[in-house]
Subunit: 336 residues, 3 copies
């Protein structure tokens, strides 16, 4: 990257404050940035870090003072920051290209234009890969999988048979899509397997991160809605349906057949039981255990999860119990 602040402001759709001709060659956090770097202030409460930063320029919202330091001003600084980092990403991130001779592409698989298939990647019969997809080395694409265009599939992602994937999806290394759901029934004291003959639908613009697992439907569909982003080591069971624009942080598990609305956020290590419904715009704080359906537009916490204000009150009250018990004991000894 070697851009003037003015060029970056134009790219990001923001405006320039101070010397727009300053050249920037990198980006870094406020504490790490040097004179050639652009940095950004994510949150006004950290504004005091601005003064000590050596950053050549800084991305801020319009209401933040920047003194003599050149600034890229944007109503949403983190969006501007993302657009600057895209330049660095293109510059820094080398990717495989072309069809590697060791890739195994079955005769009836169909590849769009400009598709990359990395070394030792396997694409089974009946699979269809859209234009501009990049399959890194060692990926497995099962029978009759269909994938839209412009997907980025990192090494060791496994997509089992008949999965449907939209466009512009990103799968980080080790993701498993379409593994069998956990379906068994007792027969004569043993667990008899219920074949998992359903599928998975991943809509457009979904990202699933490292080593997360999305099970196929038992007989129907497991669906990840458009634009939903799933962090590392997340478990999505058979028949779960996610609306659009969800966020699911690491080590969360969602049990079978649960329906989740749009713009739902599940923070890290959350558990959601099966066969319930989570309304739109629900936010569950970290480590919540959700055991019943939730109406839309609320923030919940705790196990079982309840409105977060109630949980905060409950936790505060519980912490007073040891003192209360001591007082009661004292009172019994010396009744007034």
């Amino acid at each position: 990257m070697n851009k003037t602040l003015m060029e970056l402001a134009e790219r990001a759709g923001g405006t320039c404050r101070g010397d727009g001709s300053i050249r920037l060659t990198g980006a870094a956090g406020l504490a790490e940035a040097g004179p050639g770097d652009i940095s950004f202030l994510a949150n006004k409460k950290y504004a005091n870090q601005l003064a000590s930063s050596r950053a050549g320029a800084v991305i801020v919202s319009p209401d933040v003072e920047t003194g003599a330091r050149p600034a890229l001003v944007h109503a949403q600084p983190s969006v501007a920051w993302a657009k600057v980092l895209e330049l660095l990403d293109v510059e820094r991130t080398r990717r495989p290209a072309g069809i590697h001779p060791t890739a195994v592409i079955a005769p009836t698989a169909k590849l769009g234009r400009n598709v990359t298939v990395g070394a030792h990647t396997v694409v089974e019969d009946g699979a269809v890969i859209g234009d501009n997809c990049i399959l890194y080395p060692q990926v497995y694409v099962g029978f009759d999988v269909t994938m839209g265009s412009d997907c980025l599939v990192y090494p060791r992602v496994t997509i089992r048979e008949r999965t449907t994937i939209g466009s512009r999806c990103i799968f980080q290394p080790g993701v498993v899509i379409g593994g069998d759901g956990f379906g068994f029934t007792l027969a004569q004291g043993r667990h008899y397997k219920i074949p998992q003959v359903g599928t998975v639908v991943i809509e457009d613009d979904v990202e699933i991160q490292a080593n997360s697992t999305i099970d196929r439907g038992a007989v129907g569909v497991t669906r990840i809605g458009r634009g939903t982003k799933i962090d590392n080591l997340v478990q999505v069971a058979h028949g779960v349906e996610f609306g659009s624009d969800g966020l699911v942080a690491a080590l969360t598990g969602i049990a079978g057949s649960t329906k989740i609305g749009h713009h739902v956020t599940l923070a890290a290590q959350v558990g959601v039981v099966g066969h319930i419904e989570i309304g739109d715009h629900v936010v569950a704080a970290a480590r919540s255990g959700i055991s019943h359906s939730l109406k839309p537009n609320q923030v919940v916490w705790g196990t079982p999860a309840q409105p977060i204000q109630d949980e905060i009150k409950l936790l505060a009250a519980l912490r007073r119990v040891p003192k209360l018990l001591a007082e009661i004991k004292q009172l019994r000894k010396n009744p007034s």
Copy 2:
């Protein structure tokens, strides 16, 4: 699938109610099924969903009314359902077959009859694979692993050296069997590795699902008993011994050397400390933290886990604490 209801009833070991000559070509949930589909009623409490279903036929237990709709009647509807889905599974699920030319099979490895070894799969020296096993592409079978017959090993499963596997086991993608246990000892302020020279024994009819990990014994054996089923992202530490017919749901972790009886169920996100014993037929509800040995035949919940009735009472009582504290405060202000 294109079977009459009568044919399906015979296959499932059930009986026919109504028109046994109706032809069925698919299977689906009650809400999704059409006239060509067979569906099933898992639980009598959902019987009101029957009326509105468009399913051509339905699998029910003998005591469920089905009116004019043809039905497959079976004492265990979910077993009958599984047997019908097996037909769909055979029809829908394409699998690799034969020895792929890119597979790397060491000279001293031994393959039984009718074994499939997929593209880019590696089988190391001394490994023995039983008849009819299907190793999907990109599987790793380490030195001196032995595997019984009729196993199904999905892509990217890794089985490290000297593991012993029974027959009819299923490993979903990304499973790791035989990784080193977490064994270190402090020596001069640093963590010194204790070599993990033990093994893993997986008995017959075990299924382990996506990205779960079973560590090898430190010096002895980690054992998964016959017929035990393990969900996604489960951690089983070194020296754990599972009895037969266990069920372990997602994101559960079991620490080292714990002995678990037969027919034990651990629901999702459970944690079990090391060096304890869990009796036969114990059920631990979701998110339990089991910190001490448990006698057989009980259902537990909570952290630390206790009999579930006690935990339910405890949770109910705790939720009344904020009100209690408010009352006490009031009482102090205005002693009667």
Copy 3:
């Protein structure tokens, strides 16, 4: 292994008690050991297991009575045990060797002396692998990764581009290093990806176990300090910095940008929020939820985590609440 007790004592830096000429060919736990095996007593509280053991010899600390049984006496029995098991490890563990013809090593990748690259392993352009490293089959080493000497990389480990790895590191199967961090920002109601252009630095003597994930920094570095050991299925988010000699047990998750001191222990299923600091020598008991910075040298437990004595008191007090409520109810009925 076929060594006299005297030879083992010399190797381990301990002394012999009783007949040092006894030959030992294996090692096992006290309950499993036979006359040809050496065993060890990890903890004096299990000393009563010594009498019934059939072990030919036993490793103990100087203050443990061993009667007529030959013993290897060492101030740190578990260190002596590790040194004995190293002999068994060399004997039992077969490893791949050499450059396999199916490995794909890019033209500008550089390999040190005596490097093993297993079947179907991919080493991308610009990668540098130090002397004596063993890359098992099916490993992925991304562009411009650098790795020191004497590393052991098991099958299906994925190391994404520009990661820096020290010497003597061990990565168990399925580990993912350098996946994108979970960074998005809302733009017009959708989650807009913040490119993750940072890197990961893994220092010397780190071990990361099966299917754990270490995300790359958003713009800076994610760092795992020298000698830190990470168990299976652990999530380390972007920008986390670990000091030296940490221990992290299974299913733990650490959120973004948190700084962790040296000699910190996080037991299993712990959660740590982002942007906090954990002091040196902190120990968090299993399933703790750490929601705020922690000063050095303390043991914490619970959610939110607090000093463990306080948490134990709290749990004990809470378990008395149901009885307290019953008493209060009684009191209201019959005020004395």
